[in-house]
């Protein structure tokens, strides 16, 4: 009898449940977490002040219509390819602005992963955790950066700008909710950031102070892991409420608002720039609607038409302000799309090969790594596994992906131990 394995690994490094079970205070905030997850000493110190900007193109960006065009082939589709700032490297014509900054990018055209259960969700998790989802839950990359890089206690370490309605997710897994993404749905400030009419700023301070006094009394002679985590969540809340303008993109100059564009992606990219400038460690921007099972070409025309300019503008701005030197930029998607074009002009999911783009801190830019064959049906040169990419994302900002998180007595490797970073991509 055939079965669809929910577990295709032969080496469970850490069983999900035993890990959760041991997580006495997976919840714990700063204080208790410090005891649970030991710091990665050497490399972490030099990694401080590094920042990360992640673009997640949701649904599965077509490599053909973006970074690995195959014009005039049976699989290439209707679009032409155009030259870029890197001689000899061509992008699809849907990305004219990005083509002009290709020298600030490293394009990997040969990324692959095994098929995993859970369609988009599973594949996405593979990309952002470096582990097949059925071994999880592992922390997503944003929470990992928040845990290992965030130096500024006053700011959330990991902010997710998304066009969709997106409730709180436990994307920090065993790193605890302290590092979970703070979600800005529709680029708006986080939910419940406005204090109720009843309390002005002064009375707000009073009620938080009274709350803290109550907790101090309660935690005398009681186990403190929970109370510390709880206190920390209110400290963060109080700080955030005072810094609401952090999320207000209209505080940016009108000129910049025009340059980035008035559509959502433009506003979200400008908001990302603002957050990075204010010192937020990791900012993720999601752009939706790449799942083009039908009308792949129209969809990409529309979506990349929105994405291309603000992305390139943001890269340019980060370069000019010098921030790119300490900011890693990643452009990822859960998988690529099939070479085969369906009768209704669609392309389906493809995990045999797709493209990922990096830039900024620690990255060897201005080149292409790996290649697919003439019509993009398979990898011709230097296959790169998503797990290797995860290691690379860590190493680029000076973190050691072979070090471990210590979770309830278990050492959990930061990157999948059977993988390693892609040296060709790193400076």
């Amino acid at each position: 009898m055939k079965y669809d394995p929910a577990c295709n690994s032969n080496a469970h490094l850490v069983s999900r449940r035993s890990m959760l079970g041991n997580m006495v205070a997976g919840a714990a905030g700063v204080g208790a977490l410090g005891q649970l997850i030991h710091p990665l000493v050497a490399r972490e110190i030099e990694a401080k002040n590094k920042q990360v900007l992640i673009f997640l193109l949701n649904g599965g960006l077509s490599q053909f219509e973006s970074f690995d065009p195959k014009p005039n082939t049976d699989t290439g589709g209707p679009f032409r390819s155009i030259p870029t700032a890197v001689p000899g490297t061509h992008f699809c014509e849907l990305m004219p602005y990005t083509a002009q900054i290709a020298d600030k990018l490293a394009v990997v055209r040969s990324v692959y992963a095994e098929r995993v259960p859970g369609s988009h969700g599973g594949a996405r998790e593979y990309v952002v955790t470096g582990r097949p989802p059925q071994q999880g839950p592992y922390p997503w990359i944003g929470p990992v950066y928040s845990r290992l890089l965030a130096a500024n206690e006053d700011l959330p370490g990991n902010i997710h700008i998304t066009p969709s309605r997106w409730g709180p997710r436990q994307d920090a897994a065993f790193l605890g909710p302290r590092h979970a993404s703070l979600v800005l749905s529709g680029g708006k400030p986080p939910l419940n950031v406005d204090r109720p009419d009843l309390f002005n700023e002064e009375l707000d301070d009073t009620r938080y102070r009274l709350r803290q006094l109550a907790d101090q009394r309660f935690s005398q002679r009681r186990r403190t892991a929970y109370t510390e985590a709880y206190q920390s969540s209110y400290d963060q809340a109080a700080q955030l409420i005072r810094q609401k303008e952090l999320f207000d993109v209209t505080k940016e100059s009108e000129k910049d608002q025009l340059r980035y564009g008035s559509h959502d992606m433009g506003r979200h990219c400008l908001l990302a720039r603002r957050l990075l400038q204010k010192g937020v460690t990791c900012v993720k921007v999601t752009h939706n609607n790449y799942d083009s099972h039908m009308e792949n070409f129209n969809f990409h025309l529309e979506q990349l038409g929105e994405f291309d300019q603000p992305f390139a503008t943001l890269m340019q701005d980060l370069k000019e302000s010098g921030q790119l030197d300490h900011t890693l930029v990643m452009l990822v998607t859960e998988f690529g799309r099939t070479p085969v074009i369906q009768p209704d002009n669609g392309r389906d999911h493809y995990q045999d090969s797709w493209s990922v783009v990096l830039g900024g801190c620690g990255i060897q830019t201005g080149g292409v790594l790996g290649a697919t064959n003439d019509n993009g049906t398979e990898i011709a040169n230097r296959p790169v596994h998503v797990g290797e990419m995860f290691h690379t994302y860590m190493q680029a900002v000076g973190l050691d992906p072979t070090a471990t998180h210590l979770v309830g007595g278990n050492n959990v490797p930061i990157g999948a131990p059977e993988r390693s970073a892609v040296k060709e991509l790193l400076i």
Partner: protein, 573 residues
């Protein structure tokens, strides 16, 4: 405080260690529990916490048995009561209450469905079924048999089919969840090979369990209702990924017990043969076999897993922990205790109320969460049960308790009615925009519809709490966790902050009307924290109200909120 406040058990236990081995059947379970726990404490030379004070016990037992804190009046009456048997009486009263049934329904819904979205059976139907079962104290094995044997056809038992139907009768998911929830074993990693780390979890256990459900799938009846159907299945073939050429076979199996499947003549296997239009029904149903054999004495793992789960619900940690990791490399913290709990559960015909009564009567349950003076908390692991383990309130417990504490039921009703009338106005405006719409003019909604609309709106408010404080769908609830969005929600959300300001005779309004700051402090602490304040706390309230006398309702609201948002309120301690 002196060391004498620590309850040293060594002396007491010399006698009881001996009696543990006697284990007379007539010893009440609550005493048996204490003997086992105390014997281990003595053996490990650990000090236990003192007995919980009345207030601490009362709040805990209310939350554990009814899902909410007691109201101020009830709390005051209990604290004043001088009856020496008042704890026992309270336990008996709570177990007989309607709130007990509702709370257990919520707990078991979350346990069995793990907050999956509704598919074919709605949550209200399912919770009603569970509440009726727990209210009538239906034996737990009977309830589980109804769930595992359900086909969704019989109207009365249809809600029980939610376990299968709302998992879309997906085989691998069912195998994993039946194993985890009813047998205490997570066999997921044994799907493709023997478990790489756990010697007890064999590849054939996974597939043996899968035989029971492999022939089942959904069937859409002509009336549109989805039910279960089953095709004949006797065994499955499987091969380890390490030896793909070596095919193995197994029949239906509950761990190491292989079940017989009666021979049926070829051509006579079915009551209803499989076809597109008719629900296929075999003469011999493997699902029925599962429902008869799993929740029974023949499968001792069932009673152990259930006893351990009920224990963990109240004690904040399983005797085997994690709860679905029963195997020889993860031994129980108190092996004899688990044996006794399982034996008593099954020999009492799976009487859940009796089981919970004994548990809550035990001194082990009724311990304080205060660490004994001078003792390092690190030396008292959660598995020792030397100190009461603190638990976070579940989203539902938090919702109900906030409502009880703020005495804001009327405010909530007002919020709900406002939302409904807003919707009605919007609806009317939309209808007015389309004058040619064929719909008849808005009718007066009947009473039943209004009740239902209010119920749904209230459920939506609870759902807000679930999204904010609960686990993600398909995952078991984890330990207490605190996050920034949660803090923002409790501080600023319309739902919660609507209950705090003085309105419609809620707590803040009542307190604002009192003249004496001591009275205010007493009523406040009793209402929110179910205990009386100490002198320092009374002084704190007095000083705060003094400083905020310019706007007294606001000053009262601030201090009410500070206690609602305190760890003491957020935790069951």
């Amino acid at each position: 405080m002196t060391r004498s406040r620590a309850f040293l058990i060594v002396a007491i236990v010399v006698a009881s260690t001996q009696s543990v081995s006697v284990r007379a059947d007539d010893v009440p379970l609550n005493q048996l529990i204490d003997r086992h726990i105390n014997a281990t404490l003595a053996e490990q030379k650990l000090s236990a916490a003192e007995p919980a004070a009345d207030a601490e016990f009362m709040r805990r037992v209310y939350l554990d048995l009814t899902g909410t804190i007691p109201g101020a009046k009830t709390a005051r009456a209990f604290l004043k009561d001088s009856d020496t048997k008042k704890r026992t009486k309270l336990i008996v009263r709570l177990l007989a209450s309607k709130d007990y049934a509702t709370h257990m329904a919520t707990e078991f819904d979350v346990l069995l469905m793990e907050r999956r979205p509704d598919k074919y059976v709605t949550t209200p139907e399912w919770r009603t079924f569970l509440a009726e079962s727990f209210g009538a104290n239906k034996p737990l094995n009977v309830l589980v048999a109804e769930i595992l044997g359900a086909d969704g056809v019989d109207e009365k038992l249809r809600p029980a089919a939610k376990f299968y139907l709302d998992r879309a009768v997906a085989k691998d998911l069912l195998v994993r969840d039946i194993g985890r929830l009813f047998l205490g074993v997570d066999l997921q990693c044994a799907q493709c090979h023997d478990h790489p780390e756990i010697d007890d979890y064999l590849h054939q256990y996974y597939h043996g369990l899968s035989v029971f459900v492999a022939g089942s799938k959904t069937f859409k009846q002509p009336d549109g209702k989805f039910v279960l159907q089953e095709v004949v299945m006797r065994e499955v073939e499987f091969a380890s990924v390490f030896e793909p050429d070596k095919t193995n076979k197994t029949g239906p199996r509950l761990l190491n017990v292989l079940m017989e499947v009666p021979e049926v003549k070829e051509g006579e296997e079915y009551v209803e043969k499989p076809s597109r239009t008719v629900r296929s029904v075999p003469k011999f149903s493997l699902r029925k076999l599962l429902s008869e054999r799993l929740p029974s004495k023949e499968t001792p793992e069932f009673a152990r897993a259930m006893a351990n789960r009920l224990w963990a619900m109240l004690m904040g940690r399983g005797i085997v922990h994690p709860l679905d990791m029963h195997h020889s490399d993860n031994p129980p913290s108190h092996p004899e205790l688990l044996n006794d709990l399982a034996t008593r559960l099954s020999s009492s015909k799976y009487d859940v109320k009796a089981f919970l009564r004994e548990l809550t009567l035990s001194a082990s349950y009724q311990r304080s969460s205060f660490i004994p003076d001078g003792i390092d908390p690190e030396t008292l692991p959660a598995s020792s049960f030397a100190v009461a383990n603190m638990k976070g309130l579940s989203p539902e417990q938090l919702f109900e308790s906030l409502l009880v504490a703020t005495q804001a039921s009327a405010v909530l009703e007002h919020q709900i009615d406002e939302a409904l009338s807003e919707e009605a106005t919007e609806g009317a405006a939309k209808a007015a925009e389309k004058p040619d719409s064929k719909k008849p003019a808005a009718e007066e909604p009947d009473a039943e519809k209004i009740v239902e609309a209010r119920r749904a709106k209230r459920a939506a408010r609870v759902a807000e709490f679930v999204t904010m404080f609960g686990s993600v769908p398909g995952q078991p609830e984890g330990n207490f966790a605190a996050s920034l969005p949660q803090a923002l929600f409790l501080a600023n959300s319309e739902t919660v902050s609507g209950w705090v300001p003085a309105k419609l005779s809620n707590l803040t309004e009542q307190l604002t009307g009192l003249d004496d700051s001591t009275k205010i402090a007493d009523e406040l602490y009793l209402s929110v924290l179910s205990r009386m304040p100490d002198e320092a706390e009374r002084t704190l309230v007095k000083e705060h109200l003094e400083a905020g006398k310019a706007d007294r309702p606001k000053a009262v609201a601030a201090v009410v909120w500070s206690l609602l948002a305190s760890a003491e309120f957020r935790l069951n301690h």
